[in-house]
């Protein structure tokens, strides 16, 4: 209606102008007739005439966004209208300049209980709607404030709900086809060429390429936890690939995405982008349903905790994050808070899920008089399973064993604590404790191992009862192994002294471990069998930056990544005993990742049975191996024979040509035949040269 009023006003002014013109015509006589003849049809469109002006013409929609409707205002008569106007003006001018206020009146001149307000900008209108909707003027009157443009939107909503068309089913092929490889060769992804190229290889005796694509990803790639999907990173979001041909399975639009995480069940994907967050619609962290591609929930990212911010439980039923003084646990598929409330834990510092059970372990530092505490609780019941009080704690690190049998809390403890002038707490005389929780035993008994040296790394045997840690200060760095006897003692197995190691890599099946001195330690690798604590191999991949076990524990890859070191990029493949299988130099190689495997489908008994009859199985495979070796060497010999034949043929041709030119050669060298080195023995002159055979020192007696 604002626009309508402007219209009528402008018409009025136009009328007056024409009036003036009429007068002028009267004054000036003999004005030639400019008017068109009766039958004239104007063929010049407005667009041609004044297109530039037309384009600047204000559109009705320009101001619509700035208009809001305020409902449930008091119905008042004429006499109190001004007072109402004042109240409204005072309230709404807080959000910006009110350009227009319109109070529709009924026949008696009373207000109708609603009104229109136009702000100078849509932002102001937006702000006003947000802040005043539900505003309580008095007991009877609570405002209902809406955007004018919303009316149109809601009017257009059809009364009857029609179900959306189901997406046509797309057959993506068998997403686990790679597991059907007859020889159980594993796959791995390789990024090289400065990140330009990504390839998938099959770990055949000579790794063979399955797929290679240029610019497949913009940063790096990640496999999902069971290996079904390969995630690639792009400016606009994440793409997932899979199936026998690595076709695109799903895309998730999240501009500026930097980090991702999969739920262990591969149902959900968590993405993080620092760009996209606004107050209204949390966009920093988004959780997606992988199969439907639907966005399940967005979250803000206020805390500066490390990725993954959301930690999933073992089967993807729950995920949790740490907040201030609380742990918030959410459940799927509702994505709501579990029991509608967070777990209140004052001063909680860190938590982690058991990898196999719905148990959360968290720790709380010392507060005034209460000691530090490590607590295990069961979800969803929130029952405390075990509480351990600890004194003189500077820091704690929790390490779950992969099978969920044990939890180790590495406790940094201090002898004295000082608070300096900047309120920074300084600890001195730090020593270390390993608090070992036996999860599977009754009432969760806790053992303690003390260590005086600084601990550089800690790792559980993924399946088994052993753990290893690196301790000491360079150059006296030692690696110690302990074994936890079920229902028994924690016994020291062995300490390897003076090692070049800064990382521990257990085989995924336990028993074997690689001690690696990566980067600054020049890439020293040591393969140890922890069954009898023997060093199987001591070797080196010079300047190695990464070590990765394959998911079956048969092979280990050591790699020099271009991200860490600029020359000699490539990867070396070892077997679990540390015998080098294959060296693969690769131009600007960046990253290698093994494709994970889902858990075995074999029952525990079946696994035991296979282990028992290992020899019969092994025989079969050994036969296959020797067959393959024979054909491989046969192929190579065949290839060589072919090369040699071709070359011999080429040479015999050349030798013939050479012989034909003999005359010319003789001519050029004044008749002396130099084709053979010792053709002219008679031409030689003898020369005497001396050799120093030995130097002897003798004292001459006088």
């Amino acid at each position: 209606m604002a626009a309508g009023r402007v219209d009528s006003e402008s018409r009025k002014s136009r009328d007056s102008e024409s009036h003036i013109e009429d007068e002028e015509i009267e004054v000036e006589e003999e004005e030639p007739n400019f008017s068109d003849p009766e039958d004239f049809v104007d063929d010049v469109t407005d667009e041609e005439l004044l297109g530039d002006v037309l384009r600047k013409r204000p559109k009705p929609s320009d101001s619509v966004d700035s208009v809001i409707i305020v409902d449930c205002i008091p119905k008042v008569g004429k006499e109190r209208l001004d007072k109402l106007k004042n109240v409204i003006k005072k309230l709404f001018s807080k959000f910006g300049t009110v350009v227009n206020a319109f109070y529709p009146l009924d026949d008696e001149g009373n207000t109708k209980g609603y009104m229109f307000l136009e702000f100078s900008s849509p932002q102001n209108a937006h702000e006003a709607v947000k802040m005043t909707n539900g505003y309580k003027l008095d007991k009877q009157h609570s405002f209902k404030v809406n955007h004018f443009s919303d009316f149109e939107k809601y009017i257009n909503v059809p009364d009857e709900w029609t179900p959306p068309d189901p997406k046509p089913y797309q057959d993506l092929g068998n997403l686990r086809s790679w597991l059907q490889n007859k020889e159980s060769y594993d796959q791995f992804s390789v990024i090289y060429g400065e990140g330009e190229k990504t390839a998938i290889f099959l770990n055949t005796p000579e790794p063979s390429m399955v797929e290679e694509r240029a610019r497949w990803t913009e940063t790096y790639v990640r496999w999902s936890p069971q290996g079904t999907y390969l995630a690639t990173f792009h400016v606009k979001g994440i793409a997932l690939w899979g199936g026998p041909k690595f076709s695109q399975i799903m895309r998730f639009s999240h501009p500026g995405v930097q980090l991702i995480d999969f739920s262990p069940c591969e149902k959900y994907l968590v993405t993080f982008s620092p760009l996209q967050d606004n107050h209204e619609d949390p966009q920093a962290i988004i959780i997606w349903d992988i199969r439907s591609g639907a966005k399940k929930r967005g979250f803000h990212c206020e805390s500066r905790s490390t990725w993954p911010i959301f930690k999933w439980n073992q089967n993807g039923n729950y995920f949790a994050r740490i907040g201030e003084e609380a742990i918030s646990i959410y459940e799927t598929p509702s994505f709501g808070l579990l029991d509608k409330k967070s777990l209140k834990i004052p001063a909680v510092r860190d938590f982690s899920w058991s990898p196999t059970d719905d148990i959360i372990a968290y720790w709380v530092p010392e507060q005034s008089n209460t000691p530090a505490r490590v607590t295990l609780i069961e979800i969803p019941s929130r029952n405390e399973l075990c509480v351990r009080n600890l004194f003189n704690v500077a820091d704690c690190k929790m390490h779950w064993q992969k099978s969920g049998d044990y939890l180790c809390v590495k406790v940094d403890r201090y002898k004295t604590k000082k608070t300096d002038d900047k309120d920074q707490i300084k600890y001195s005389g730090i020593y270390y404790n390993f608090e070992l929780f036996r999860i599977r035993e009754k009432q969760i008994p806790v053992d303690k191992v003390e260590e005086k040296d600084p601990v550089l790394a800690f790792a559980w045997e993924p399946i088994g009862n052993k753990f290893a840690y690196i301790h000491g200060e360079a150059p006296r760095i030692n690696v110690t192994f302990y074994n936890i006897q079920p229902k028994g003692k924690v016994e020291l197995l062995k300490t390897f002294e003076k090692r070049s190691a800064n990382h521990l890599f257990w085989s995924p099946n336990g028993q074997f471990i690689v001690l690696a001195g990566l980067r600054s330690m020049n890439g020293v690798l040591e393969f140890i069998d922890t069954q009898d604590m023997t060093v199987m191999t001591q070797t080196e991949h010079f300047m190695a930056t990464d070590v990765e076990w394959d998911p079956t524990g048969r092979y280990v890859v050591s790699a020099v990544s271009w991200w860490g070191h600029k020359v000699d990029n490539g990867y070396w493949l070892w077997n679990f005993q540390g015998i080098l299988q294959h060296k693969q130099p690769l131009e600007k190689f960046c990253q290698l990742q093994w494709r994970p495997r889902p858990p075995s489908l074999l029952s525990e008994n079946r696994v035991k049975e296979i282990k028992k009859n290992f020899k019969t199985w092994a025989q079969k495979f050994e036969q296959e191996d020797s067959m393959r070796k024979m054909t491989a060497s046969k192929d190579m010999l065949e290839k060589r024979r072919k090369l040699m034949e071709d070359f011999r043929e080429y040479r015999s041709q050349k030798d013939k040509e050479f012989a034909e030119m003999k005359e010319i050669r003789l001519q050029l060298r004044s008749g002396i035949d130099t084709d053979e080195l010792h053709n002219q023995e008679d031409n030689f002159t003898e020369e005497i040269i001396e050799f120093l055979i030995k130097a002897e020192e003798k004292i001459v007696e006088e």
Binding site: F542, M543, V567, D568, P585, L637, R640, R641, L643, M644, F647, Y650, K654, D655, E657, F658, M661, I664, R665, L668, R669, T674, L677, I689, E690, F691, L692
Partner: protein, 325 residues
């Protein structure tokens, strides 16, 4: 196989060559005095004194009567091998990069660098014509328009010159017309060295693109490729076995920042036909700039950035190496 160390240069070796009989080794370096040695015991026979800058290239005539050197002091000099006295001195406008005696020893060719506004050029002189040398007017001059020549050798029978260029190109120039008759670009980076097979039917190139390649001399057909992970500075074909030796390593400029193991300064032996590496010889503590086989194939020498020439006589078991095929 304990090598004989030839310690007579103060700076990095640029090129080494055996004479036809193999009893002498000629070496030149970035110091200005090329040396000649007995290959058998490593005794220094003499020095050619007269240059005033880094000597880039050296060659010896087939009868070991004359020696040709080219240097960064803009001179190409011909010496009497026996006395070490200077026979001729040809002044050029820029540094002399590579040179060589023709098959008969009557012609010499050398190439100049593209610097100081001067183009890269090939010059050919006839040593029998005293006027050419006296007046500095060559028999033939071929100006090179494109990428400069970094290595050059005579083709067979004084008919052509094979050149390797900074951009990896290889060309054959006809001596009569002065025109390019063949060219190819199988290398992607600078050609550091070209060495012929003993009968001049093939040649091997060494390139900064980490490979050495074997070509047919007439057709420039690529026959074989030998791959490494470091720039190759020099490569030679064994006259005795189907072997080639490659020398190279991390570029001299980067060496100070890397340790010797990263540099990979080994001489590497490949099978000529199968392109497979079968042996390495350690020793230099800088990149190898030049390698050469003894004409009898029973020893080889390498000259390095470290200023040493190492003469290696193969152990008996080298001669027993056999590839199954």
């Amino acid at each position: 196989m304990k090598p004989i160390m030839l310690h007579g240069h103060e700076r990095s070796i640029t090129q080494i060559k055996y004479n036809r009989e193999g009893d002498l080794i000629f070496s030149c370096a970035k110091d200005s005095q090329p040396n000649v040695w007995y290959s058998l015991n490593g005794e220094r026979l003499g020095t050619f004194v007269g240059h005033n800058g880094a000597v880039w290239c050296i060659d010896c005539s087939w009868d070991t009567s004359k020696v040709l050197t080219g240097a960064a002091d803009n001179f190409c000099k011909v010496w009497d091998c026996e006395t070490g006295s200077q026979l001729h001195s040809i002044e050029t406008r820029t540094a002399v990069r590579s040179n060589g005696f023709s098959y008969s020893g009557n012609l010499i060719m050398f190439t100049t660098d593209k610097t100081m506004g001067c183009n890269c050029e090939i010059h050919v002189y006839d040593l029998r014509d005293g006027d050419q040398l006296a007046s500095n007017t060559p028999l033939l001059t071929i100006p090179i328009e494109g990428s400069k020549i970094t290595s050059a050798i005579w083709g067979p029978y004084e008919e052509s010159i094979v050149t390797g260029h900074e951009n990896g190109e290889i060309c054959i120039f006809d001596i009569k017309s002065g025109k390019t008759v063949q060219s190819c670009k199988d290398h992607t980076k600078q050609i550091n060295d070209i060495q012929p097979y003993k009968d001049y039917t093939m040649f091997i190139t060494a390139s900064k693109d980490n490979t050495a390649k074997l070509f047919d001399m007439d057709t420039l057909e690529l026959k074989k490729t030998y791959r490494t992970e470091r720039p190759v500075n020099s490569a030679a074909i064994s006259p005795l076995h189907e072997h080639v030796v490659l020398g190279g390593g991390q570029e001299a400029m980067q060496v100070t920042t890397t340790n010797t193991r990263v540099g990979k300064f080994d001489a590497r032996f490949f099978h000529l036909v199968f392109e497979e590496e079968f042996g390495r010889v350690k020793g230099h503590f800088g990149p190898i700039n030049s390698v050469a086989f003894h004409p009898d194939g029973k020893s080889y020498s390498s000259g390095g950035e470290d200023g040493y020439v190492r003469v290696h006589y193969f152990d008996a078991n080298y001669l027993d190496i056999n590839f199954d095929y």
